[in-house]
């Protein structure tokens, strides 16, 4: 009898293609939306976590002035070469101390030009930021001391200026300075803030100060801690040393700030977690709307179904047989919609994660939850109106308008 019931249910589904389609659609939208949204949210979080790892481990970022609204590092006294020398010799827990000064320049090669960021620094920059060269070499000791016009360029700059041509050994113009390309940086891609980290030219600090900036200001210091050293200890060392060097009396506020990039990372991760939660909530609403859709279709079709139930009861079907048929119908539709919804959700998530370059992180619990919820709604609203109808006197069911 079970196979007969299954057959009856499938026949009933096939005989009402529109109703079946709408029911399945509700489930597909609900399940698909939740799976797609949550998977994209999880991918974003994973991407941010991976970016943070790429930022360089144990990285501390120092700049003049305090972070925060209404404060500008421009007003505070910049660092100087002696500060850097002191940090390099006295910070025993640091692996690399890289001074940096930056500005925006126009880089030109042949007929190609690009506005990009230029950083004046030394070789510790690559260590601190954990940034490899794909070709060429880093700066020579003599180049750093003498301030030679040598530069190392990021992937975006290389692509814009040189395209498929060989970049190494060529000379580019940076503002009015002619500069030899001695190295190419590995591509880092976009940062979590959406900026292109490969849009950069790096040159020796002294060259930058003399020929680009025209001053000896150092506006940032990148410091990475040695392996196994707590960044908090290095941060305390930096603060003590810089307070001393900048003559800040006891009780007075720092006129510089030290940021542990790990903390920034944690803030960012927390933000993306909230974002995932938000996407999940939006998806939850889709699920609810899908559920209401299923509910509506099921309730609207009850008039027609009630007559059908009346007919079946009058010609000798037992209440339990009619109910079993309706239950099987609801289960078949829910399963069908659920499977399509899962495939659609995963498909959309796969496309979207590829499009915005984030990893595809699947959470099986979400797949299960979305499916279970939709199936439950489908079954409940397919079954309970049918149960009410099946308990009617067959004659009343037949007269149902």
């Amino acid at each position: 009898m079970f196979f007969e019931t299954l057959k009856l249910a499938i026949q009933a589904i096939a005989r009402n293609p529109l109703r079946s389609f709408l029911t399945v659609l509700g489930i597909v939208i609900g399940v698909g939306a939740v799976i797609a949204m949550v998977t994209i949210g999880n991918g974003t979080t994973a991407r941010v976590a991976a970016d943070i790892a790429k930022l360089g481990s144990n990285l501390l970022f120092v700049r003049p002035g305090q972070f925060g609204p209404g404060r500008s590092s421009a007003e505070a006294k910049p660092f100087n070469a002696r500060d850097i020398a002191a940090l390099k010799t006295q910070l025993h827990r640091a692996r690399a101390v890289a001074p940096a000064a930056q500005t925006i320049v126009t880089a030109i090669y042949g007929t190609e030009s690009r506005n990009t960021t230029i950083s004046g620094t030394d070789n510790d920059f690559f260590t601190a930021l954990d940034w490899q060269l794909t070709q060429g070499r880093s700066f020579l000791e003599g180049e750093i001391r003498s301030g030679r016009a040598a530069c190392i360029i990021g992937e975006t700059v290389r692509d814009e200026l040189f395209g498929n041509a060989e970049a190494l050994g060529q000379r580019i113009r940076v503002n009015k300075v002619s500069c030899e390309v001695i190295g190419l940086l590995a591509a880092k891609g976009q940062s979590s803030f959406g900026t292109d980290r490969d849009d950069i030219i790096v040159m020796p600090l002294r060259t930058f100060q003399r020929r680009i900036a025209g001053n000896t200001n150092i506006t940032a210091i990148y410091i990475s801690a040695r392996d196994g050293v707590q960044t908090a200890k290095v941060q305390a060392d930096i603060e003590r040393l810089l307070r001393e060097r900048r003559n800040i009396g006891p009780g007075a506020e720092d006129d510089f700030s030290v940021r542990d990039m790990k903390e920034v990372a944690q803030t960012l991760t927390a933000t993306t977690t909230v974002l995932t939660g938000l996407l999940g909530a939006v998806a939850g609403v889709s699920l609810l709307v899908g559920g209401i859709g299923i509910m509506n279709i099921m309730l609207v079709s009850v008039t027609e179904r009630t007559r059908e139930i009346g007919i079946r009861l009058a010609i000798g079907a037992q209440e339990s047989q009619v109910l079993l048929q309706f239950l099987v119908e609801a289960i078949v539709l829910s399963l069908f919609g659920g499977v399509i919804g899962i495939m659609a959700g995963l498909g959309i998530a796969a496309l979207a994660t590829r499009a915005i370059q984030i990893p595809f992180v699947l959470d099986p619990m979400i797949v299960f939850f979305a499916f279970a919820f939709s199936a439950l709604v489908g079954v409940l609203f397919g079954y309970f109106p049918a149960r009410r109808a099946a308990r009617l006197n067959p004659i009343d069911a037949l007269r149902h308008e």
Partner: protein, 239 residues
Amino acid sequence: MHSPADKSPALIELKAVSKIYGAGMAEVRALDSVDLSIDDGEFVAIMGPSGSGKSTAMNMLGCLDRPSSGRYLFKGVDVGALSRNQRALLRRHYLGFVFQGFNLLARTSAVENVELPLIYRGIAAAPRRRQAMKALAHVGLAGREHHSPGELSGGQQQRVAIARAIATRPAVLLADEPTGNLDTKTSLEIMELLERLNRDEGLTVIMVTHEAEMAAYAGRIIHFLDGRIDHDATNRDAA
């Protein structure tokens, strides 16, 4: 099914059956202590104005409803004592229904509609299809088996309904205003079909109608009035 070993000679027997709806002042006696006996092979027409109790009597005879008091014996079995499921089984095995509004499943072919009661009887697919085709041929619908109700005229739909009712070879065919939705010419054709089934195959037919012209086909006409049998007579004009 038409076992001669039955103790009760009558196929259907109502003994002081009442059906009361509501309670107290709002009490309505749809049937008021009705005694009625119908034998195997009869063709009975039940007539009466609306509210006379004829539809209630029909529901009672069709085991769709239970008496408030009195006893309804079908083949000697007290229907009032049966559960909902047992009454469903009784309908499945002994009764066939034809309704005024045809009540076919929409978007379902004629032969699938006729197969429906056979499915509930647990008949396998192949013999079920054969039996359904035979029943359709019997009501003059050979060649229309795969049309859905929407593609058939009212008269043809009612023939499908009759085929559905007789496909299980029931003991009794209950027809509730079977010609109520049909024009006169088609109505007469349906009546001739019912009469033929009664005469040639000994099928017991009980039909509710308010048209004397249709009742004239029956061998016995029962008039209801205010929940009681007003008049019960053999129809001498019937063939």
